[in-house]
């Protein structure tokens, strides 16, 4: 028997023009003019005991709503949800803590809501306190906690007793790196003991490390189910297709202003990043072979054309940059109209993190000579570590330790 099963589950929010309409609807008065927002539609899902499932998808895809339905906090508009096991859930980054109470009191409260006896709770308290590692704050009212500290307590409470089903919505990204690490260790431990895990996360590395299945939600439906790597690749391509068809995006998602300059004698028409499988991606693994493809259109006759690219890490420091003048591959005396495709093949010898790529078309080794088209933040991609030794920094040196004893 599956531990969680959903049969054609749908969730719709109905917008009532006034309370009066809603009130009548409780008593079966139908109104066809109501505005309905479909959050989830016809979800069929069956999860087996011990599975670790990641729900991925863009904001508004219905991930959190689905978890709330499974947790029993929301009720489905139609369909059937069966859950055969005790659930422990961190939804919307919390466990219903009251900020006037200390972590100690909130722990007691939340665990007693979850149905544990006072003896069990007293027994578990030292464990919660030790795991959350917030020291003397444990007895202070939670209103003076940082969000990270609240998260620590929530995670400690949610996992102190082994739940049959553990639901975590986004929560893991709040804590600091140390606590994230600690939480993942705890999750793995629970997994070994048979806990079924359901998480929503944007941390692709974590998903690929922990989960055995990923479910991609898009527009309220299940778009793809499969091994995490496969689903993540598909998801990346979906995002890539969305964001790179129109390259003239001025305002970046993170609020940065993309600067585009140049006299447009030559234009960058398309920039794409392909992973080792030849799939368009916004994420590369450390050491993976990748191709950056730049399509250029020559608009006016040009004496010399140089194409350069530059990688910057998150804070804007340059990690690497070169151009076709340095590599002695500059093109001379170009006529119009003409299309040129540059393919930059490289090994991703970068540390984990987010990198941006600037592309430039110039008339020489530096853009001071002549600047045709220059795009900052033309492309942003992430590097994750899947199979390499763990390391820090932005360079992958792949050193070898030779150790001699005695």
């Amino acid at each position: 028997m599956s531990i969680v099963s959903l049969k054609s589950v749908s969730k719709t929010y109905t917008e009532y023009p006034s309370f009066y309409h809603r009130f009548l609807s409780w008593f079966g008065v139908k109104n066809s003019n109501l505005k309905r927002h479909v959050i989830l539609e016809d979800i069929n899902l069956s999860l087996e005991k011990g599975e670790a499932i990641a729900f991925v998808g863009q904001n508004g895809a219905g991930k959190s709503t689905l978890l709330k339905l499974i947790a029993g906090v929301l009720s489905a508009t139609s369909g059937e949800i069966q859950v055969n096991g005790k659930i422990s859930a961190i939804l919307e980054l919390g466990m219903g803590f009251n900020s006037d109470f200390s972590a100690l009191e909130n722990t007691r409260n939340t665990l007693s809501i979850m149905g544990y006896t006072p003896q069990e709770i007293i027994g578990a308290m030292p464990q919660v306190k030790a795991f959350s590692e917030i020291g003397d704050y444990f007895e202070q009212p939670m209103r003076i906690y940082s969000s990270g500290m609240q998260m620590r307590v929530a995670f400690a409470v949610a996992t102190v007793f082994q739940p049959e089903i553990l639901i975590i919505d986004e929560a893991l990204s709040v804590g600091d790196a140390y606590f994230q690490h600690k939480s993942f260790d705890r999750i793995r431990e629970l997994q070994k003991q048979g806990t079924t895990l359901l998480i929503v996360s944007h941390d692709k590395q974590a998903i690929q490390n922990i989960c055995n299945r990923a479910i991609l939600l898009e527009g309220g439906g299940i778009k793809k189910v499969g091994p995490p790597v496969e689903v993540m690749d598909y998801y990346n391509a979906l995002i890539a297709a969305k964001s790179h068809t129109d390259i003239e995006l001025k305002r970046m998602d993170d609020g940065h202003l993309q600067t585009i300059s140049g006299d447009n004698k030559a234009k960058i028409e398309k920039i794409s990043l392909f992973n080792s499988k030849g799939i368009e991606a916004d994420e590369l693994a450390v050491g993976e072979k990748a191709v950056l493809e730049i399509q250029v259109a020559v608009i006016e006759p040009i004496k010399q054309l140089v194409c350069g690219f530059m990688l910057k890490e998150r804070l804007g420091h340059i990690v690497y940059g070169t151009n076709t003048s340095f590599s002695e591959q500059a093109l001379f005396d170009l006529n119009t109209p003409q299309k040129i495709t540059y393919q930059i093949h490289f090994d991703t010898r970068l540390g984990i993190g987010s990198y941006s790529c600037s592309i430039a078309l110039t008339g020489g080794a530096t853009h001071l000579e002549e600047n045709y088209h220059w795009i900052d933040l033309a492309l942003v991609f992430k590097v994750i570590n899947i199979d390499k030794t763990e390391f820090i920094g932005s360079n992958c040196l792949e050193p070898e330790f030779i150790i001699q004893r005695g």
Partner: protein, 267 residues
């Protein structure tokens, strides 16, 4: 029958939550106060003191049936005990879903627990008030008799009657917050339409029946009988109250059943 059995079982399993919550309810109300639960008793007693002081001139005459020099304060306290329980349950019911929104939205648990916490906390508050009142009566040389035992069914039925009203208002309050403003005003009106600070005989006799239409009238009347007049309430009045409690709860829970899907979404 099975539904009731399951419900009882579920409640028993959740007894620790209910007990802890009642404790926390007291704690949270006084979490940043120096005198803690003293305020719970002080509030109604100050009210009694004020009315007793201001109205003692008008109410100087001995009340027929109460053989004490302090007849008026005793009468006043008796009525206020019933009134306080009635209004406390309604006020809590009014806010029960909104105040517990953080739990409702984030934790799966049987929602009926909230009702038991509400009833438990209100009844305990009322019990404290009754004990304080009896203490005051004794210090005034007024000794209640065995009819006090009738307070048990009366307290329970009053709380249940108010619960049904409170839940109905609480459900509506989630969607239309005006309800939260209107109910206290209605309660205030009702307070003056009920003989609590005055006695029924100051109303012209041919208008008295109007006051008796007020459902709280018979409740407060029974509190007067038990505490001030030391006589058992009529079984007929108790029976009527039981029926009113049943009807108000049927109404409240029907409304809740219809609305519960929408409540969490709206919070």
């Amino acid at each position: 029958m099975r539904i009731i059995k399951n419900k009882v079982q579920q409640t028993w399993q959740n007894r620790f939550f209910i007990i802890t919550s009642i404790k926390m309810d007291f704690k949270s109300r006084f979490s940043r106060s120096l005198f803690g639960s003293v305020w719970a008793i002080l509030n109604p007693l100050v009210m009694v003191a004020i009315y007793a002081f201001i109205l003692s001139q008008i109410m100087r005459a001995k009340l027929p049936g109460i053989e004490s020099a302090y007849a008026y304060p005793i009468y006043l306290i008796s009525g206020i005990i019933g009134w306080t329980l009635f209004t406390e349950v309604i006020s809590r019911g009014l806010m029960v879903f909104i105040e517990n929104g953080h739990y409702l939205k984030k934790l799966p648990f049987p929602r009926s627990n909230l009702i038991f916490v509400l009833l438990g906390a209100s009844l305990i508050n009322s019990l404290i008030l009754i004990l304080a009142a009896v203490g005051i009566f004794l210090s005034l040389g007024f000794i209640p008799n065995s009819s006090l035992i009738w307070l048990i069914p009366l307290q329970i039925l009053t709380a249940l009657f108010a619960l049904g009203i409170g839940i109905s208002c609480g459900v509506l309050n989630v969607f239309v917050r005006d309800v939260g403003q209107v109910v206290p005003i209605i309660l205030q009106l009702l307070f003056w339409l009920t003989p609590i600070v005055y006695t029924i005989n100051i109303i012209p006799e041919d208008l008295q029946y109007l006051l008796k239409l007020n459902p709280v009238f018979s409740i407060v009347d029974m509190y007067h009988n038990i505490l001030a007049f030391k006589i058992a309430p009529s079984l007929q009045d108790l029976g009527v109250l039981a029926i009113m409690a049943l009807v108000s709860n049927l109404l409240g829970f029907m409304l809740y059943q219809k609305a519960y899907k929408d409540i969490v979404e709206e919070l």
